[in-house]
């Protein structure tokens, strides 16, 4: 694979199995700096597994993943350093329930980035303002709505000043009326130039922010392209069948 300076993520022929289930069967793609890539596909197609491989929450069985010039599969790479540069937002929010909102956002800044308490707090407040809920700083996660919790999760990831943000079906666990508030934050982030890899079927987000779409099925990339080309002229039969179900 050519080492293009602009490619912040290079995924090269990645395989991953869970027992007998083959989640990924030779996936290759690249993500450029500032690009917003959306991965779509039916459930069980391997899209979440691929996303989780990027920050090594899942270890590929074979193949290579290079993030910002560092091979994630190489023994000498300190995965914790790379992970601090790659934020991820989960479907289930995964906020720390024993900490307040502001403490949730400060914790990793303090112990991973080694920031002083005051500095971490200031950044946390800034990020809370960015996601639109500065007044919830001292609330506990269980006192927030789903949409608010997910926005805190985004703020928690952003406070680390990541170079890449991963989103794993960030709106799937939300009530319909809360989806927009989360998508608005994501669109703003994309417009600000953040490199994003998003697993989502939210067509609102795809239309507003996606640069490129990847369609996966059965652990393989079937088709990829710009949103216009992808939705107007899908080349593959499987893509057409899938699109007819979700659109």
């Amino acid at each position: 694979m050519s080492a293009d300076q602009d490619d912040i993520i290079q995924i090269d022929n990645v395989f991953k199995s869970f027992g007998k289930i083959k989640a990924l069967q030779g996936v290759s793609t690249t993500v450029k700096r500032g690009e917003v890539l959306v991965i779509i596909g039916p459930s069980g197609s391997g899209k979440s597994t691929l996303l989780r491989c990027i920050n090594m929450l899942e270890h590929p069985d074979r193949g290579n993943i290079i993030v910002d010039g560092f091979s994630m599969m190489h023994k000498a790479t300190d995965i914790n350093i790379i992970r601090a540069e790659v934020g991820i937002v989960f479907q289930q929010f995964n906020l720390f329930p024993h900490l307040t909102v502001i403490e949730n956002i400060m914790l990793a800044q303090r112990i991973v980035r080694k920031r002083k308490r005051e500095e971490a707090k200031q950044i946390a407040e800034q990020q809370l303002k960015y996601v639109g809920i500065p007044e919830k700083a001292d609330a506990f996660p269980h006192e927030l709505s789903g949409g608010q919790q997910q926005r805190v999760a985004i703020a928690r990831a952003l406070a680390m000043n990541p170079k890449i943000m991963l989103f794993d079906e960030p709106t799937s666990a939300l009530d319909p009326e809360m989806i927009k508030e989360v998508l608005d934050v994501m669109v703003a982030l994309a417009k600000a130039g953040m490199t994003m890899v998003v697993v989502s079927h939210e067509m609102g987000f795809v239309r507003a922010a996606a640069h490129r779409i990847v369609f996966m099925d059965q652990g393989r990339i079937i088709e990829e392209g710009t949103p216009e080309a992808f939705f107007n002229n899908p080349r593959e039969e499987r893509t057409r069948a899938f699109l007819s179900k979700i659109l």
């Binding site: 992970r83 790659v86 934020g87 995964n94 906020l95 720390f96 990793a108």
Partner: protein, 286 residues
Amino acid sequence: MTTVTKKIGEGRLLPVTSQLEKWPWWALGIALAAVLIVFSILTSPIYQDAFNFIREGIITTIRVTVIAYGLSLIGGLILGLGRVSKNVFFYNLATLYVEVMRGIPMLVIILYGAFVIVPLSLGLINGLGNWMVGLTPLAGLGRTLQQVDIQQVDMSGRAIAGLAMGYAAFEAEVFRAGIQSIERGQMEAARSLGMTYIQAMRYVILPQALRRVLPPLGNDLIAMLKDSSLISVLAVRDITQLGKLYRARSFRSFEAYNTMAFLYLSMTLSLSMLVKFIERKMGHER
């Protein structure tokens, strides 16, 4: 046309009756027994004699229980972390320890600890001292270690070692269950922010797990208080040992064992109330 109507409230217990049914009569029974024994201790010279003789064992029982419990918590936490560790060596070592200890009666663990493990460990310390005397920079420390003597570890110390060893295995399983009860996403979220495994455990998993295991840990404290009576086999002068001595001296079995049982019961019930109080307080928080 006849209609069968049911009066409101028919077929239900009257409020007064159901209140009486819910009343904790068992607690009244305990309270009555307690009043009876306290009254006896205050008025009957024989009970007074028994109580004064056994009384000194209370401190020993509490001291042994508290120290052994503290040690078992430390050991249990380390073993519990081993039980959830991906490190093959650490995991198997912890599992071996837990399985062996849980399969041996506490009384046997106490005897084994007192007469096998503690002398063996001291032998090792002496051996280490002998070796260190030969090394110039460590000779001073070596001589000290050489002089550590089995006589310096009294029976209550050995009893504490045995109880702590046995209970560490139980606490290990409590900690393991607590850690495993935390959703997988918590560890993933912490690790994805760049925390190491140890940092994630320390700041995210353990604070949540410890809250969840407080009630079972409290119950184990009560269980250990009761099991501390087993150390009387080492002739440690705890409540049980002094009760036995008093009975042997006076042949007053009734008074001796009533006083003994009363002392244990009042301690375990107070502890159990404390545990329930903590549990309820935590229930409100979440």
